[in-house]
């Protein structure tokens, strides 16, 4: 029985990884194809020991890993695979549940229902919503828009802004819907007057856009959508977790009127990758879009399975992980990590504002700061490349009103004030360094 021994080694590997991850270069320092070239071109004929996998993980794979678990990861939306979340994923794999019908795993289905109820309560969403999990917000948003299309087959337009996440455009392509862009104001939020809903089946309003964290005017959108019987989908994939803090609920005003809401627990809610929560107050429309029960899945109990509301038939027991995280942090623990991330982002914003030659280029609502050097786009881009190449911090970028902007997103629960100050020092240092000749 080597499972216990191999398991102890795997567990120790993870424990030690989490202890040393701060010291590793955040952005992988390899060239495309470099890892591939170091791996055998053919699979082994005979079984290899699990210990060899662990060895290669250290020696071969790790240099090609970009460390999302690093407290100095500030790119995209930083996230955290928390300790309870990691261990719950071990249990999930051990149980290997496959949710197809209720009977194939009552625990999976009912824990998913309970975890989504709990999370709705934590975020201040209304009671009675139908909730389930998808792997990513891309899938959740696509499912919501498919339901919107099913509810209004005559209307083929989705209204959003240029700051709406690209997954909406991707879903529109898949669903053959037209994406109509509404204008934004100076805070990069949708400008609701006038809002053209002619021919629209859905509006996507975002609380916490990817580029800047901007907040669309959800109350006005909810009002207009209700008037015109248009589906309102609220994309709060990143920022939604912040609603666990009552003092931040103002940003979410109106989302209780949405037809669907998506929040990625795997972003800012301590859950490992693959856990996106979708709620709807119109489950019948989701079911109309996705329910299909062939003979081999007909059973005696009359319980709709979650797969009837979802694009895929089978589902992992990811709810066990979410449920574990909610229990092992509790409301107060979840609030504490959101507040700390926002405090650190505010601190970073202050550092930028206080320094001549730098500017903050978008309002900060949550834990994302958009900023730049008072310099050319090319210089800013080169600066970002130098910072990321240093391995000391990893940031990303966007473009606002045509200008290049740097993004620092706090969101890893292990990030400390020292980490944020260190990132700022790397930025200042690299800004003061002449770029290498081309």
């Amino acid at each position: 029985m080597t499972f216990r021994e191999d398991g102890a080694a795997a567990l120790e590997w993870v424990a030690s990884y989490l202890e040393r991850v701060r010291e590793l270069p955040v952005l992988a320092q390899v060239e495309p194809g470099e890892l591939r070239g170091r791996l055998p071109a053919a699979p082994p004929e005979q079984a290899e020991p699990f210990a060899d996998v662990l060895r290669d993980l250290d020696e071969v794979l790790l240099p090609a890993v970009t460390h999302w678990q690093s407290p100095r990861f500030f790119a995209y939306f930083a996230n955290t695979g928390s300790e309870p979340g990691i261990l719950a994923d071990l249990l999930v794999a051990g149980l290997n549940q496959v949710g197809i019908l209720w009977r194939t795993s009552p625990a999976l289905q009912e824990v998913e229902e309970v975890a989504l109820d709990w999370l709705a309560q934590l975020l201040g969403l209304p009671a009675g919503l139908h909730g389930h999990l998808e792997d990513t917000a891309s899938t959740a948003t696509m499912a919501a828009l498919a339901a919107a299309r099913a509810a209004r087959p005559d209307a083929r337009i989705v209204v959003a802004t240029e700051h709406t996440h690209s997954s909406v455009a991707k879903a529109c392509r898949l669903l053959e819907l037209e994406l109509r862009l509404a204008p934004v104001d100076e805070t990069f939020a949708l400008r609701p007057e006038p809002l053209d809903l002619d021919g629209a089946c859905a509006v996507v309003g975002t609380v916490g856009t990817t580029s800047t964290g901007s907040v669309d005017p959800i109350p006005a959108l909810a009002e207009a959508c209700a008037r015109e019987s248009v589906w309102l989908h609220v994309d709060a994939a990143y920022a939604g977790s912040a609603a666990v803090c009552p003092e931040l609920r103002g940003h979410f005003a109106g989302w209780e009127r949405a037809d669907s809401v998506v929040v990625n627990a795997h972003k800012w809610l301590l859950t490992p990758m693959g856990c996106s929560a979708l709620w709807t107050r119109r489950p019948d429309d989701l079911r109309r879009a996705f329910s299909l029960v062939p003979e081999y899945l007909r059973v005696s109990e009359d319980v709709p399975s979650l797969s009837e509301f979802s694009p895929a038939l089978g589902r992992r027991f990811r709810a066990l992980t979410l449920w574990t995280v909610l229990r092992c942090y509790g409301r107060q623990g979840l609030q504490a990590q959101i507040r700390e991330a926002i405090r650190l982002a505010a601190l970073f914003e202050e550092l930028v504002r206080a320094e001549p030659g730098w500017e903050v280029v978008a309002p900060r609502h949550f834990s994302l700061v958009c900023f730049r050097r008072d310099d050319s786009d090319a210089e800013n881009e080169a600066l970002l490349e130098r910072v990321n190449a240093s391995g000391e911090a990893f940031l990303s970028h966007t473009r606002l009103e045509g200008r290049y902007a740097l993004r620092l997103a706090v969101g890893n629960a292990r990030t400390t004030e020292d980490d944020v100050r260190a990132a700022w020092e790397v930025l200042r240092r690299e800004a003061g360094r002449a770029p290498a000749p081309a």
Copy 2:
């Protein structure tokens, strides 16, 4: 630092679970809502210890678990979360990689490419295919059909049979394609002459259908599709893993000409849930359907990310699990478990054939046996319910030419000859028992 202690307890829980799972009732013996009623209605305010989660897993959740890990699980397509697969999932959660762009995890992308290459080699698929992983075959098939639609925007029909998996109908609804059913022969395989491809953008041929394991005539379909420039998608979600055995390759003749092929590693290839392999020889069509790179994802390196070929933007590091499984079993280990499952299914088939009053109702190609008592549909249905209620084995059913049929699918790697004989004894015992009065 409680991670090591909690982790040791979680690991021991899984080890002990795998040791005792054979003794647990295979099908959960609870009523709908029973588990939900035992869980708190509201989330905790304060953090709870991880040990409480483990305690509740045993005391509250386990009775509501249907044990897919049980060697006496014979329903649907039985599967296995193998020991290396489980431990790899622990590493995946610990690393918490998010594949968005190549740079967000070169290891994820390149290990995925390598693992798909390896698996293609193991299964005898041609070199040079583009491969990636989706969570389920539902998603993979939908992606393939979206590519087929993008390649032939004028053609809106998908040709398949009544035995094609329901995910094809679901994908057609999402993609607004029409599903045209072709007739089947007496083996439940598509009858290729005449094949009406007028207006078709795709044909789905199945190697190993869900109801009976039947095999559509892929060479004839490939020929017709090539002639008419129609996309051929081969659904080998269940049976594809069997192609690791050269003596079974005959069933897969022609799939090397398919435009896309799907094989679920999480079914018969020892990988925990959420690992469906999709290969295509037309990656440009997939990319046309799904590629979309917004500004905040533009980077200097010119490497297409896997998300450009896939409905979702972000992906888990599920390739690490597949790669680990392929290494820890090797070609010979994978072959051995396929051969043993087929040997056991053949044994079961013999037992049924040898017993008066029972009949095998479909040809057996792989590890699935379709059979019934020579009795009414209602009696067969009641028999299945009694067997499943016993907890001693779990089987499922289908309907063939209007008649109810029982399905026994061997596929759990821990299943032994004793387990198969035990299932047969339960069936015989329950068949001899008068049904309880209604």
